[in-house]
């Protein structure tokens, strides 16, 4: 793992016909870092995450995950993935869902599963079938599934959509704790205030990485007072006056 990069892409492109969903992205995320992918809907965040997982084949460019070339089924056992919609088995209860994904990744650790279920505050509902859960509870179950096998790398696609502010704060406290223990996180979002909590940010628009850096750096570069303002200015510069 050269220079400690957990995720490394070089000139990564994914074209769907005339649509350039990911268009020349060079990403480098270090171990223990929380990297925020920021951008409007349709900017290519989800496509980028799916490329990293090997769920899509890139049009060109290379990807290395945990030091291995993607696609590589074996390394997926060390990667946790939270999809945008809470993809869960409706008939199974919370614990069964968590246990299933842990097992598919080759790990079953009861104590850890309990901890994960506690973390998302679902101990009381761990026996409830998912179909009886509200949107927020599903989202929490979904996060628990992504953590179930103690992954070293987490790819979270808009993990806090539909989560109330209090739980969102809990999630972020926990993300920080994971990062502290050496877990690397890539979190996509279109909520700017969330972005402030990331170690480093990448602004994405129309498949391109407009800018990268810490929240403070990005604000400074454009002399903006908020991240949102900075983003708009980067976007305007990127398309020479085009609108966002």
């Amino acid at each position: 793992m050269a220079n400690g990069s957990i995720v490394e892409t070089t000139d990564l492109r994914k074209h769907f016909g005339a649509i350039y969903a990911v268009d020349g992205v060079n990403l480098s995320v270090r171990r223990g870092e929380i990297y925020g992918l920021l951008g409007p809907n349709g900017s290519g965040k989800t496509t980028l995450i799916r490329l990293l997982l090997g769920l899509l084949r890139p049009t060109s460019g290379t990807i290395r995950l945990l030091g291995e070339a993607v696609p590589n089924k074996a390394i997926l056992g060390q990667v946790g993935y939270m999809t945008q919609t809470s993809a869960l088995y409706e008939e199974l209860n919370v614990r069964e869902n968590v246990a299933f994904f842990a097992e598919m990744c080759g790990r079953r650790d009861r104590a850890w599963m309990d901890e994960v279920i506690d973390l998302v505050d679902l101990r009381d509902r761990s026996g409830s079938p998912v179909r009886t859960l509200s949107g927020g509870l599903r989202q929490r179950t979904s996060l628990a599934c992504a953590l179930a096998h103690r992954p070293g790398l987490l790819l979270l696609d808009e993990p806090t959509v539909g989560v109330d502010p209090q739980l969102r704060a809990t999630f972020w406290t926990y993300f920080r704790r994971l990062a502290g223990s050496g877990v690397t996180l890539i979190v996509s979002s279109h909520v700017m205030e969330e972005a402030e909590r990331c170690d480093r940010l990448g602004f994405m628009r129309q498949g391109k990485m407009l800018a990268e850096g810490t929240a403070a750096e990005l604000r400074c570069q454009k002399g903006a007072s908020t991240l949102e303002e900075a983003f708009l200015q980067f976007a305007a510069a990127g398309t020479e006056g085009g609108s966002l």
Partner: protein, 387 residues
Amino acid sequence: MNSRRILTLALRVIQQVLRDRRTVALIVFAPLLILTLGAILFRAKPAAIPLGVVNEDQGITSPVGGTINLGQRIADELAVGDTFAVVVLSRNEVDDSLSDGSLQGAIVFPEDFTAQFLKDRQAVLDLRLEGSNPARSMAISAQVTQAAMRTLAGLAGMAMGAAPSAQAGEGKLPVTLQATYLFGGEEFDTMDYVAPVYVAFLAMFFVFLLACVAFLRERSQGTMERLAATPATRAEIVLGYMLGLGLFAVIQVTVILFFTVWVLGIHHLGSLGLMLLVIVLLAIVGVDMGILASAFARNEFQVLQFIPLVIIPQVLLAGTFFAVPDLPAYLRPFAYFMPLYYANQALRDVMLKGWGLAEIWPNLAILAGFIGVLVVLSALMMRREVA
């Protein structure tokens, strides 16, 4: 290939299906209901056909005394047995009775029926049919002709001068049938011929639907995407499903088969275990067809659209009700691409002919081949969503 992951997947599939009680009930009891109805219908004696008789025949005076009225004799012959419910009526009531459905047919004997027969040695039967159901029309025509032939056979020599005997109505046909059966026997009815394949078809059909919907849901609820992001390979996912749903197929087939044999009393000459094996193999083909088909469906309604496309043609062309050699030559080749055809053959061989593994193994091998091909195709089709 990781057997532990396959097993985990299979257990999850089993758990999911078990949570859905109604589906479990459907899989097990719906075939029993359909089979029972089938048995009742195939075995039911058809109701007597209402047949009108208009007898204006005057007859002739016999040389040995009394009158000979052939119209009346044929009418009496028709009334024997329970094929027809004979109704006597007059000529002008016939059309109304046929059109309001109270009669399916009517036979009219004119005034000179007997006289004309003796003169020409040829009877012309004036049969009027309701006619909307061709099969029924044919049955009535055949039965009426036979009754007339039985009646008139004893009179054959009459015109040549011999006196008609008083028992002419009980005249015998010059042919007596003495049939011997290589397979089956007189105690076998249509249900015995249809039941084996009926069972096989039902087993395949229900697991096909189950597999298709289960796999479709995996995609529509997004868990396939998540599963794809685990180390599980496409082949493992297909095999996991096959194993999990295969278990339900085994349970279902066992219940159906034992019900068919012991409750419905279907005859079987060969081994029950071998029959079970054939049907389970076919059911697993059904699971794999379902998984493959789900790749082409976007929602549950589109799954239903596979019934006329994938299921009904198999019922029609694979020898379930219509024997394959009876199909037009250009349709016959399709049967050879249908797994149901091979299962049907194997099952009839075992149930009706009492054949064993030594004779039917080629059919089993072909079914196994279908499973292999379908697993590979299903795994390849998943490439669209699982890289």
